[in-house]
């Protein structure tokens, strides 16, 4: 049965081509099946049409490197002629095909459905729509368009459950261990649940909860941003609830999670509805891992199930992992799965009942969990990863405890760190101290991930199901020597020790950003690179916040200085006592809403003589503010100007206070106060330029000066400036407080740590100098 000859010139229709298996499949067909043509179904992306996604996500992948080398200049022409994309989505009835797509489907000799949501923690509805309904939709579309093709549906060996014992290559309806649940009910329940959760998530108490959490994360950044964040939290909540619901439902029916559960129901739905109408073959691979030989040993796409666990193990982060040492980890290299599918395609469909082929290694050539851990331990002892100080990391010794114990430990760690994180975020710290919060957040994320792995994958290391491959072996027996050489898929061919040590683990390391070389790393080059980008002559505009970005001061400080400037000692003491007493209330108001805080605080300037304040402000600047300034920050403003960038200061400080710093910038936007007869009224003339207002002001400013925000830099210290930072192409967090620090880290924003000059002022509440001649209050009563 020469596969190459049987498939020559055939027309393939493949779903899931952007996935791991799909990419390998398309490449193998193009490379090894002469004249065969492949149409791939690709969901149009938001920015890219299917053709572009095909080029970028499939053809460009290093899977095609071998073919690229072999064909040289002819590669583009050859691939362009034989592979094309049509728009469509297995999540929609009829696959959402256009005329062209329908024609391609109708003409296809072989339809390979490999699209799936492989994530074990997908929301239930997503798993249902794609995994459960997907196969039937493909079959329905084939029938509707009069296709005579052979449908090969890729499923998973785990549909036959993870129970102990043997799982034969038979339809689930014949399997006594799977419960016979009507798949239609599961579909409608999942959809109803989604609608219910959507409604539930909009209840006032829930909404209040999301808003509170959003405010906790980004602070007083403005209503719009808090609303955006809180809407995102709502959507995440719905999605998380659906994940939980999926896992719960799967567990209740005896599957470890929603993936095999929905895949199993998907098989049933397909067979029940379309067996007899459409020629169907089911292929059930076990855990697909990196290639044994094709297109090259170790080829892998994306981070799959085992890789994160392996890396976490090598980094010493998983102190324990549950599992049974003698249990079988059923892993199968991707190229074997591809070859099996092509062999199935070449043989063609059985008449009548759909055939099932399991592509798994557990029975034929088992890899024991204990052996895998032993191999990995040895490998990482010989090739350790290195920590950020350049020391080798020693891998933990796993004692194979029960899953429950590991989960309990990790949950405890999780709750402790959640608490610590909360406390730290609430502290008024900034700059390098705030990075401590970031480090704790890092550790926490790792712990959470470890818990996630244990919860998700624990079942798979404890399983002892054995997936029989009799059909597969029979298929192999039917192959001639040429086929066996070209399309090998017998799992007996795998030498596990060499596969693990020489192929898989090196490949995993190559795909991970981990340090595999000893010695202290050269300093992280990223900040330097970012700084160069920021200070490129191509930038247009640099916008700066003032307080805590360029100097360590705030409205209360400056007010205290001005108000005490002309006070005698007795009144000065009373003034300080009053201000300290009001401190907590002021701080709380500032946290709630910066705009309200400023407006209410600025009332204190009511009736103050403007001329006097103007004069005192110069003194305030030179004797106080300048001594609390960040020299690196002031130098940066001038560096931008020297490069020809426009510089803009946006601050909630009052105009007369920032007057002395005006020459540093091209322009200044600040708060201005009404005056009457030379005295201030305590009311601002416009809304204070803070929070979201800054983003709007900035946008107006940029457009009126024909500057591009994409090419602009913004410097700020607080999450309340988020809108402004988000508005520009080059945001910079300066001495960020913990919330902004977390945001900047997540988004990879440049962070600057600017400090007061050693020798600068450190007084916590700076007061004006004594007035030698005639003490009299300018501000306050």
């Amino acid at each position: 049965m020469p596969i190459e000859r049987d498939l020559r010139g055939k027309r393939f229709f493949v779903t899931g081509a952007t996935g791991f298996l799909g990419t390998a499949l398309v490449e193998r067909i193009v490379r090894q099946v002469p004249e065969a043509e492949v149409t791939v179904l690709i969901r149009p992306g938001r920015r890219a049409d299917p053709g572009a996604r095909l080029a970028r996500e499939v053809i460009k992948n290093d899977c095609f490197d071998r073919l690229r080398d072999e064909l040289g200049d002819r590669f583009d022409e050859e691939v362009g002629r034989r592979v094309r994309a049509v728009a469509g989505d297995v999540g929609h009835d009829g696959l959402g095909l256009d005329e062209d797509g329908r024609a391609a489907l109708a003409d296809a000799d072989v339809v390979i459905h490999s699209a799936a949501t492989v994530s074990f923690d997908a929301p239930l509805t997503q798993a249902v729509e794609i995994n459960l309904l997907g196969p039937s939709r493909v079959a329905a579309a084939m029938a509707a368009n009069g296709s005579k093709g052979h449908l090969i549906a890729v499923s998973t060996a785990y549909v036959a459950s993870t129970h102990q014992g043997e799982a034969k290559e038979e339809l689930l309806s014949e399997n006594p261990f799977t419960l016979d649940v009507p798949w239609e009910d599961e579909v409608s329940s999942a959809r109803r649940l989604r609608d219910d959760l959507q409604a539930e998530s909009r209840r006032p108490d829930r909404l209040a909860g999301f808003a509170k959490k959003a405010r906790g994360e980004i602070g007083a950044a403005g209503d719009h941003l808090v609303a955006t964040r809180s809407e995102k939290l709502r959507e995440e909540w719905v999605s998380e609830e659906l994940v939980k619901a999926g896992t719960a439902r799967a567990l209740s029916l005896g599957w470890p999670d929603a993936y095999p559960f929905t895949k199993a129901l998907g098989e049933r739905a397909l067979v029940e509805q379309w067996a007899g109408t459409v020629p169907i073959t089911l292929v059930r691979p076990s855990i697909i891992e990196s290639a044994l030989a094709e297109p090259r040993p170790g080829w892998i796409r994306g981070f799959r199930m085992a890789e994160p666990i392996i890396v976490s193990f090598a980094r010493g982060l998983l102190a324990e992992f549950p599992g049974v040492p003698e249990g079988i980890v059923d892993v199968i290299p991707v190229d074997l799965v591809v070859a099996a599918i092509l062999a199935v395609a070449a043989r063609g469909p059985e008449s009548g009942r759909p055939e099932v082929y399991q592509v798994a290694s557990g029975v034929r050539n088992p890899l024991r969990y204990g052996r895998l851990v032993e191999l990995a331990t040895g490998f990482f002892q010989r090739n350790p990863l290195y920590d950020d100080r350049g020391q080798p990391i020693s891998v933990p010794e796993w004692s194979f405890p029960g899953r429950g114990r590991v989960q309990r430990q990790l949950r405890r760690a999780d709750s402790v760190m959640t608490f610590v994180e909360k406390v730290i975020t609430a502290l008024p710290i900034r700059g390098r101290q705030a990075q401590l919060a970031a480090r704790i957040e890092d550790r926490h994320a790792l712990a959470k991930r470890a818990l996630g792995y244990v919860e998700l994958y624990g079942a798979y290391t404890e399983t002892d199901a054995r997936y029989r491959v009799d059909n597969l072996l029979a298929l192999a027996d039917g192959c001639d020597a040429a086929d066996r050489a070209q399309f090998p898929f017998d799992p007996a061919a795998i030498d596990w020790d060499s596969y693990v040590l020489e192929i898989h683990l090196p490949s995993v390391l190559e795909h991970t950003r981990v340090r595999t070389k000893p010695g202290r790393s050269v300093v992280d080059k990223r900040p330097e690179r970012q700084r160069r980008a920021i200070l490129s002559p191509d930038r247009h505009l640099a916008v700066f916040d003032l307080e805590h970005t360029l100097m360590s001061s705030n409205v209360v400080d400056t007010y205290a200085w001005l108000a005490s400037r002309h006070l005698g000692p007795a009144r000065r003491a009373r003034f300080v006592a009053d201000l300290v007493r009001q401190g907590p209330a002021l701080l709380a108001l500032d946290r709630r809403d910066r705009g309200d805080f400023l407006r209410s605080f600025y009332r204190r300037f009511e009736n103050a003589p403007l001329d006097r304040l103007r004069e005192d402000s110069w003194e305030l600047f030179h004797r106080q503010l300048l001594t609390r300034s960040f020299p690196d920050g002031l130098a940066r403003v001038r560096a931008h100007r020297a490069l020809g960038h426009r510089t803009l200061l946006i601050t909630g400080a009052l105009d007369f206070i920032i007057e002395p710093i005006r020459p540093l910038f091209d322009d200044i936007v600040c708060a201005e106060m009404e005056q009457r007869d030379g005295r201030l009224t305590g009311h601002l003339t416009t809304l204070p330029p803070i929070g979201e207002a800054r983003a709007i002001l900035l946008a107006d400013y940029a457009s009126s000066h024909s500057l591009s925000l994409e090419e602009s830099v913004a410097y700020a210290d607080s999450a309340s400036d988020l809108a402004m930072l988000e508005a520009v192409g080059f945001p910079v967090a300066v001495n960020p407080e913990s919330r902004l620090s977390a945001i900047a880290r997540r988004r990879g924003w440049h962070v600057e740590h600017w400090a007061k000059a050693e020798g600068g002022s450190h007084r916590p509440l700076p007061l004006g100098p004594f007035d030698v001649t005639s003490p009299k209050a300018v501000l306050g009563r």
Partner: protein, 529 residues
Amino acid sequence: MSRRPGFVLEVDKSTPSTLFWNGEGFVLEALPEGSRVVYAPEPVKALEDPYGAIRHALLHPVGDRDPLPALLRPGMKLTICFDDVSLPLPPMASPDIRQMVIETVLDMAAEAGVDDVVLVAALALHRRMTEEELRHALGDRVYDAFAPHGLLTQHDAEDPDNLVHLGQTDQGEDVEINKRAATSDLLVYVNINLVSMDGGHKSVATGLASYRSLRHHHNPSTMRHSRSFMDQPSSELHSSNWRMGRLIADSGVEVFQIETTLNNDTFPTNFAFLQKREWEWSLRDRTTYAATSTALAKVPPRLSRQILHSIRSPHALTSVQAGEVEAVHALTTANVWTQQGVDVEGQTDILTMGLPYICPYNVNSIMNPILVACLGLGYFFNMYRGRPLVREGGVVIMRHPTRPEFHPGHHPSYIDFYEQVLTQTVDPTEMHKQFEESFATDPWYVHLYRTGHAYHGVHPFYMWYWCAHALAHVGRVIVVGGNPAAVRRLGFSPASSLDDALEIASDIVGPSPTLTHVHNPPILMADVH
């Protein structure tokens, strides 16, 4: 009791440890046997009636000048310029000598019916003085009479409207000075002559000049050829100022120079041990030394700085002379030498010095690393006549904590100089070529200099140029007890103790070098034969 002259002690087994200033504190160091310690002469006796002496000087001018009252008439434009906060060190106890002189001048002006009088602080490129500092220098009476009416001004070297270009010297040096002063009918300059570099034509030609004018003598080449600044005939800085001063006089600017000298009674009784010879310390001196040095070492630098900067010196007036600039200055210089000159036989391989918390450019401020270099290599090294105390290729060992601390209000351009220039080069000529212009013309520094209390943007360069002669002369500079990173940034070698420093120095001067320590305070001038 007659005062004792300067003294050179040879250290032997019985010599007690020697006092070194160490920034905001001091330490006793045991110098190797055979080392020399140079002590200043004891204070010259103060004038008993300072006001009387001032009056007498104004009425009996020297050189080709009429007595001051004869130069004053109703309707004239009179400008009184005075030295700024950089003199004297430490600031003297009230009344300041400037107050005494200016009050006397103003009395005479009032008697003569002069009513167009303006006071100008001769800042050059120094920071503007604060109200407290002006009140201290001039007294409340003068301050309150002039300041509220805008008649007490501070020279602004960046004010194009108040500068006048008087021409170029025969060496092509621009002379551009304060317009009000230059266009007055009479310019009275009130000087305090602490060291022999001060005063003379330098008062007006430097104190009232612009950057355009100053750059002709404040540059690496002039500084390198001033050997030393303190030795007027050998100082290129002096010559340049003299050329400018003569041009100013030839342009018709009438200068009535009043110069004063103070004795070297530098510290009040509590700190009297500082200026005594250690083997003559009384029990009380020992106790106060132990108490103050321990206390200063225990408190944070910010606090010790505050304590030391609040010291007011008992400096007393020893001479006052007035009249024509050059004639006045000849007398003044002689008087300065009388107080400070010490004869020293021969040069030394190693020169050691303890650097105090204060120099002319950090009064009420912070002694940053650049000022440390300037005080050691610019000032102390140059306190010689004839030959430098240390031989060519020798080693200078200074003691100072040299913390990388800066006053952001007073020394903003120093911070950037430290970060941007010293990281690239410590060579005065190189930085002059590459960086000076951009610092000198940076509008932000100009703004801070003109409206705040910041030294001019170019000032840190000048401080570094002061070191040029020493940098070219010595083989190595070692700082004991300094912040190692900061010391290396300056291009010097850090050492943790004097012994370490001597060990490091032995690479250059061999295992048994000669060592000379200049005892400070009080300051002295070495006449090296």
